[in-house]
């Protein structure tokens, strides 16, 4: 069977249908993973009793396959009366999985801030939440813009896992075409090209953000 360019063009709109969900899942998961990752990292830096638990949790998240986590959420949680829509389950699964990695990114970003910064904040009488919000966070975000951007692309590329939960995203749309027509090459190539395009747009946005962060430091308190 030869690759049929005309057929690829014909099914393009059908595969494209999934792109909305793909983008939605990617953005929601990125936000979810960032928030969770930040929480894990703050817990890891809190009291010495919480620290080992947080560390174990972060390691556990990173040491199990994302597919296993997704299946766990999708098939096991309902046994305990927790029934979530497939899409939400997917977002939750990807968020949790990547939060383990993003916690490490936050760690590196915070470690790179000189100790003198929080000492200066303390010496002015700033509270701990204010020190985190006004001193640590803004400097950390600057340090981690690049690795965080890289993870946003990784998250985008992980959205096809949701196909196993029958969430209608881009790979799912491609599969639908494939199972209707028994042709796999064209829908997969189309899906691949669309992912490539999305990822490149993502990278371009991150680069722009980095440049802006580098050139004009944040102005507002």
């Amino acid at each position: 069977m030869k690759f049929d360019f005309a057929f690829a063009m014909e099914i393009f709109p059908q595969v494209l249908q999934g792109i909305g969900n793909t983008i939605l899942v990617a953005i929601a998961s990125f936000i979810g993973a960032s928030v969770l990752g930040f929480i894990w990292e703050i817990l890891r830096r809190s009291s010495r009793f919480v620290r080992p638990v947080a560390q174990l949790w972060i390691d556990a998240i990173r040491s199990t396959p994302v597919l296993v986590q997704l299946y766990f959420l999708f098939f096991v949680l309902p046994h305990y009366g927790i029934v979530l829509p497939a899409m939400l389950t997917g977002v939750l699964g990807i968020s949790v999985y990547f939060s383990g990695y993003i916690a490490e990114v936050f760690k590196a970003g915070i470690d790179a801030i000189p100790r003198g910064q929080s000492e200066a904040a303390s010496s002015l009488g700033l509270s701990r939440p204010d020190t985190i919000g006004y001193i640590i966070m803004p400097q950390m975000l600057r340090n981690i813009a690049a690795p965080l951007g890289a993870y946003s692309v990784s998250i985008l590329k992980s959205t096809p896992y949701l196909a196993v939960l029958a969430v209608p995203e881009m790979l799912g749309s491609a599969f639908d075409v494939a199972s209707e027509t028994y042709r796999y090459a064209e829908p997969m190539v189309v899906a691949g090209i669309l992912f490539l395009a999305l990822a490149m747009i993502g990278v371009a946005l991150v680069t722009r953000l980095e440049r802006r962060l580098g050139l004009t430091p944040a102005k507002d308190l």
């Binding site: 003198g116 910064q117 000492e119 200066a120 010496s123 002015l124 006004y134 803004p138 308190l221």
Partner: protein
Amino acid sequence: MTPIHELSVHNNAQDTMQAPAIQIENLSKWYESFRALTDVNLTIAYGERIVICGPSGSGKSTLIRCINQLEVHQKGRLVVNGVTLVPGMKGLSAIRRDVGMVFQHFNLFPHLTVLDNCTLALRRVRKLDRREAEAVAHANLERVRIPEQADKYPSQLSGGQQQRVAIARALCMKPKVMLFDEPTSALDPEMINEVLDVMTLLAQDGMTMVCVTHEMGFARKVADRIVFMDQGQIVEQAPPSEFFTNPKHERAKLFLKQILH
């Protein structure tokens, strides 16, 4: 325009406080097996200017960092502005806001302008609104002779300018005591004087100051008392006239010989 003298810090040693600004009794601190401070006793009155000197590793920085609890002591009594500081206590920020600190490496907030560096704590800790905070900040930037740099970022300033901003930032909080931890050690030689001049000005205004410094010219001119430390202990205390001409302790004699060549 509010006159500068009303906005700036005024020490009221005369009217209110009989009690000392800082009282240190038998203070000890150690890291693992290393003793950083051993039974340090020091009382500092409001309005007094103390210069702490001594060879490196003698515990000077540790001592003044204990005063605002950036370092926690293990033993002894420490009373700052009438509050007894207990290791691990809550509510430290209430004490720290009245104790200004200037660091060797400035520690300005690089993501904030000079003005915002000065106003952040005024707004978040003193709860002033933006306009009030900026008025205080401008007055103090004026005081350290750098009013025209308010909208720049720290990285756009020279080392001397940055340190003066750091002093202004601390002064904005109207501290009752100012701590200086080797404020000129990280500066190029030609910038040291602009910082020392500002510190001298502060001293003339009656600010209570505790300075760890190797600048003996400054010490001679400004200090009421020189505290000489060695191996975590205070080995000699004397007014500068006495300390520089007639040091008692062998270690102090050696130190002065080396530093004054």
